[in-house]
Symmetry: C2
Subunit: 289 residues, 2 copies
């Protein structure tokens, strides 16, 4: 084929137009983007009609975003891009807690709560206690570390998805680790849930014959001075969809027992009925270099 027929001339012009980019990293990113975008269109021989559908899809995705919904993060999630970026950047010291995707629902500030508080402001789900320690990679406790937690309720919805039905801050809490880096809070056992399917991303999942479910999980961001923050989840062991998470976010090390524990003194300590469901999970942070 001639240069004209493959569009190589257009690609060359587009790449040349980026040469004046002052920021060298932006130039590198845009150059890579143009190369891959053009190669994609050239290799698939993208038609005018398909291009029009893609434009319409991206436009609808942008317009589905609101203060409480991030459809572009959802799109990145279901294409595996979010998890890939996490993985490429998520190298950690051996033993440090592995990261996973942020997801589209960390969009409001979590309310500051005291250790032991119940983040399930509504009730009705199966109560449980989550406890652990924030540690440095060598095992040194990190008292004063911040532990930001958010989860869906027992019906599978985040507070921001149901502004009428759930109080703001339901399922969310910002905790400060105590002595020995310990944190603990009460909540309900999370349930698997479908990501929102009433927008463009839902249409994509239907067209690809994929289910929209995520296995049950609780989100964490742990931050401590002198350490690299970690964004992660814990997943409920034995639950559904652990091997087919709609957003590819499961890592084996993040799957945790939420075991029923018959331990009256523990129940008294946490102020919950015995027996109790209890997940123990340490957040181990890498020292910042």
């Amino acid at each position: 084929m001639t240069t004209e027929a493959t569009g190589a001339g257009v690609t060359e012009q587009a790449l040349t137009s980026l040469r004046g980019t002052t920021d060298p990293r932006l130039r590198e990113l845009l150059t890579g983007l143009v190369r891959h975008l053009h190669d994609f269109a050239r290799e698939t021989r993208l038609t005018q009609e398909e291009w029009e559908r893609a434009i319409a899809f991206l436009t609808a995705t942008g317009q589905a975003c609101t203060d409480t919904r991030q459809e572009f993060i959802l799109l990145s999630d279901v294409l595996g891009l979010s998890m890939l970026v996490e993985t490429v950047n998520g190298h950690r010291a051996p033993g440090a807690t592995e990261s996973t995707v942020l997801g589209p629902f960390h969009m409001t500030e979590s309310p500051v709560r005291a250790l032991g508080d119940d983040i399930d402001l509504v009730g009705g789900g199966e109560p449980c206690v989550v406890s652990g320690r924030v540690l440095s990679e060598d095992g040194t406790p990190l008292p004063g570390a911040l532990v930001d937690v958010w989860q869906a309720d027992d019906k599978g919805f985040y507070d921001v998805q149901q502004p009428g039905a759930q109080p703001a801050g339901n399922g969310r809490g910002l905790f400060t680790a105590g002595t020995e880096g310990r944190f603990w809070f009460r909540t309900c056992v999370p349930a698997p849930y479908p990501i929102p399917t009433d927008g463009p991303v839902g249409g994509l999942l239907r067209a690809t014959g994929r289910h929209p479910y995520r296995p049950a999980h609780i989100h964490f961001i742990a931050t401590a001075e002198g350490h690299t923050p970690v964004t992660t989840h814990i997943f409920v062991a034995g639950g559904d969809y652990l091997d087919s998470d709609a957003v590819f976010a499961v890592k084996e090390s993040l799957v945790q027992d939420f075991a029923e524990t018959d331990d009256p003194s523990l129940a008294r300590e946490f102020g919950v009925p015995n027996p109790l469901r209890h997940a123990r999970f340490d957040l181990v942070l890498e020292r910042a270099s």
Copy 2:
């Protein structure tokens, strides 16, 4: 690097998830998209912060779209993607009129007009006449062919950009070719103009040190029974920016003289003062296979 560190495992999972796509062409497109998107992020080692900026940029691009503005088409245009898709699909029989990009301003229906009508409803620019014939590739005239025309005014704005200041349909017309496939209309000589720079795409142009100008042009879509429609422009010969069009849409064969013509009988025929600016341009359509 291990599979874990390069994210090859995530890419494999994302590709596997597309296997249930019923439509084989959609499966092919999504597979190509995931491969290129992941390769892009892997090769550039896209950081979490850069990913967040990209999400914010795409969201803002979607939210800048309205009934009269298409920021995603503009983005595709300035990245050269629109012109590439045109080029890959635009193979034409030798002698057929070459295509170029649709652009973001063909968003309202052009008003039906009679041959000879003036599409410049406001006046003030330099008047000119555009005339030509719609022909089949073998030279057979195509009377009854539709010629859809749109252009910016002499200040460089389309009607939809200035709903208060310009009457709807200014600079637009849908003409039906007459005997021997002839079409002709009056307008003002188009001027170069900047694409809209007050949105996310404007920010991209500034960051890359690019000017936002397009060389002066008039848009056409010609349609005739039994023929492949052509979407194209004519560009004003000798004008600025012909070698640095912000959207890479110039093809040599589309650059046309808008010559000053001293021809009293022609002026009388078109009902305009002599001398007149006159562009002659045939639209040659390929027979549909």
